[in-house]
Amino acid sequence: MAIDLRETFLEAEEFKKLGNDFYKEKKYEDAIDCYTKAIELDSNNAIYLANRAMAYLKTEAYGYALADSSKAIELDPHYLKGYYRRASANLALNKYKESLKDFQTITKLAPKNKVAKEKSKECEKIIRQILFVEAISFDDCKKSVVDDIHLDSIKVEDSYLGPSLPSDGKVTEDFLKSLISWFKDQKPLHKKFAFQIIIEARKLFAGYESLVYVDIPENAVFNICGDTHGQFYDLLHIFEINGYPGPNNLYLFNGDFVDRGSFSYEVIFVLFSLKLLHPEYFFLSRGNHETVSMNRMYGFAGEVKAKGTELMLKLFHETFCCLPLAYVVEKKIFCVHGGLFSEDGVTLDDIRKINRFQEPPESGLMCDLLWSDPMPQNGRSPSKRGVGLHFGPDVTQQFLAHNQLEYIVRSHEVKDNGYEIAHDGKCITVFSAPNYCDQMGNKGAILTVTKNDLSPQFKTFTHVPHPDVKPMAYMNMGTMFEL
């Protein structure tokens, strides 16, 4: 009897050794076979099970690894390797909390084992990182910054003489007039009303689809403006020469309202207020600068932190995510900030269905919409910007034909004369920030159409003076002094 047992034991050990050899040679399937044979001879050996678990991990059979390591622990609750194997299996299965439990056990069982301690600590650190990231991203999806803003508790001091909104946040002509004149004098809008405007605008935009159809009323004109980039005084000039928005004078501003210019704050509040005042006659589409990463680098974030608050910036970013991505005017003119797509066959419905409530991904329809540029040659080509693409006249033609449209209007690129007609009249760029960055000396332009005549008419304009704003926390563009 004893001899049998001993022989069995020796045989099992042989298989284990063989298995270990195979393991070292990276022949994991063979190793598994050997360990299995060892286990068949002695099923109560934690070591064999832990070893097989290790080999299973290598062949990505995580379920089997989990089973084996659990059995090993069951058989020998003091065998550290068992816990290591199970922790690894759980990690591979993304069961971080379970994994963490085993590491904690290891440190408890071997408090003096330095290597064990370090290893566990290392793994624990990684796991906690992962759990933390998961936790906060989970929160982001569910919570809106609006929940953190308690408008009723924000007091307006008696000393505040600026424009104010009623408690229902309804924007009136009077409010808009006083807002514009207040801003012209570089005075601050009270935070309470600032928050109110953004909150109401956000609600309004969120109710739209990602692609919006607009019809032009009879006897009205429809104006499309391009990038304005924080050039508040030039924005006012647009309204002075072309009329303020109203039932007969509709406007679409095609993205990039903020960044670069030093008055992005004023621009965005006036545009949002106009939207709230004339929701049927005033439209805003999202540009690539209505995003977190651009605002961080090109001034808006700094400006909001200086003139408003950090919370307000978060609210802006949420609101930007609600801006529609594209408009179709009279079912014939497709308006978008950047341009067309890396694939053929995109329909208006595809665009309408985009989930725009996010920062633009690094590729795909939403990214292309915000970032692409036309090029003169046919076909497609990687973008000079490193994001999006260049698309040729054939791409434009195909898209228009496929969707029964006449031409596209986009912005995104500075043009000497404020606008440029490309692709045989089918792709028009309109840009409305004159003397861009106080440097380029370009004109701005406004594109106008009517219901009965959809052919584009252009009005160009030069820049107007603006206050010499001393560089503060935000971008110093005004003094491109000397390179």
Binding site: R260, N288, H289, S293, M294, M297, Y298, G302, K384, R385, G386, H412, E413, V414, D416, N435, Y436, C437, D438, Q439, M440, G441, N442, D468, P471, M472, A473, Y474, M475, N476, M477, T479, M480, F481, E482, L483
Partner: protein
């Protein structure tokens, strides 16, 4: 017409350089001693300064390679440039290094050097003297002198105090300096250098191609800051830049706009810095590059074969 706005260009340039260094565009351990905390600049500015600094550096390297240990560097309108300390760190040996700027500027530079051991110990030779006045500093082969480049006799005297040798191969550096000086003063300066120095290379970084809308806007912006660009006529294009040397008895001149200079820098380096700040669009940067240039002029024959991709 005061010189103060021109002196202020040093502050702006130094701040821009410091900002770029802080973001990792290039290394300069000494600039923080001269420049306090700065505001963030647009990515175009940082890339522009990178191109400027690296572009000029290439010519400096070429010069040092050719001229060897007898080389002499005269940095005109040097402002808070840290070139001396950086070269010292690299173990470059020169016979003489002279920085010149308005006395108001050199006074501030000397003050900063006096106050900061890290700057002082680099220039202070073991057994050498440090001669200090309010506006001048002489220590070993380093000389910081306050002078007006429009006053040649004063300049000549000060250069003699700095132990400048007319026989040694000399590198003159000027970054946006000559453009602020009246034409006849510039002509006199360049003519005087040509008459005195046997072998020299002048590296001039400056505006160019100014006869367009962008140029007009730039001039307008600078004028609004009180900077009348007295020497702007030489910045019309690369030809006029070169002619400034040729017409003042220099042997030859070459010029490249910053598009050429930038794209001639090593690709790996350009890729590295382009990742530091994402540029949303290229237009502004290209315009800036097209409106600045590096123009070199030479005396003697040693530097006649200079090209913009040398020195590595």
């Amino acid at each position: 017409m005061s010189d103060e706005p021109v002196m202020a260009t040093n502050d702006d340039a130094s701040e821009c350089k410091r900002g770029a260094v802080q973001l990792g565009y290039w290394q300069d351990n000494y600039i923080p001693y001269f420049v306090r905390q700065i505001e963030k600049r647009a990515p175009e500015i940082n890339r522009g300064y990178y191109a400027r600094v690296k572009g000029v550096e290439r010519f400096i390297k070429t010069f040092l390679k050719k001229a060897g240990s007898s080389s002499q560097i005269v940095n005109l309108g040097a402002g808070f440039d840290t070139l001396y300390w950086r070269l010292k760190d690299q173990g470059v040996y020169m016979s003489n290094y002279v920085e010149i700027d308005f006395p108001t500027v050199t006074a501030r530079k000397c003050y900063a050097i006096k106050r900061n051991k890290q700057l002082l110990e680099r220039i202070h030779e073991q057994d050498g003297e440090v001669k200090l006045s309010a506006t001048d500093l002489h220590a070993g082969n380093y000389h910081c002198i306050g002078a007006d480049l429009r006053n040649i006799s004063q300049l000549e005297m000060k250069l003699q105090q700095a132990e400048v040798s007319f026989a040694n191969p000399t590198l003159f550096i000027a970054e946006c300096v000559l453009v602020y000086i009246e034409n006849d003063c510039v002509n006199r300066l360049l003519g005087w250098i040509a008459s005195k120095f046997k072998s020299a290379l002048f590296v001039n970084y400056e505006m160019c191609n100014m006869n367009d809308t962008f140029g007009d806007v730039m001039l307008g912006n600078l004028r609004a800051r009180g900077c009348t660009l007295a020497g702007i006529s030489f910045c019309k294009n690369l030809e006029t830049q070169k002619s400034r040397f040729i017409s003042n008895n220099w042997q030859g001149a070459k010029a490249w706009d910053m598009v050429q200079i930038y794209y001639d820098l090593p690709a790996a380096e350009r890729q590295r810095i382009e990742k530091i700040e994402f540029l949303d669009e290229q237009e502004l940067l290209i315009q800036l590059f097209q409106h600045y240039c590096i123009c070199v002029g030479w005396l003697g024959t040693e530097f006649a074969d200079i090209s913009c991709n040398g020195g590595d």
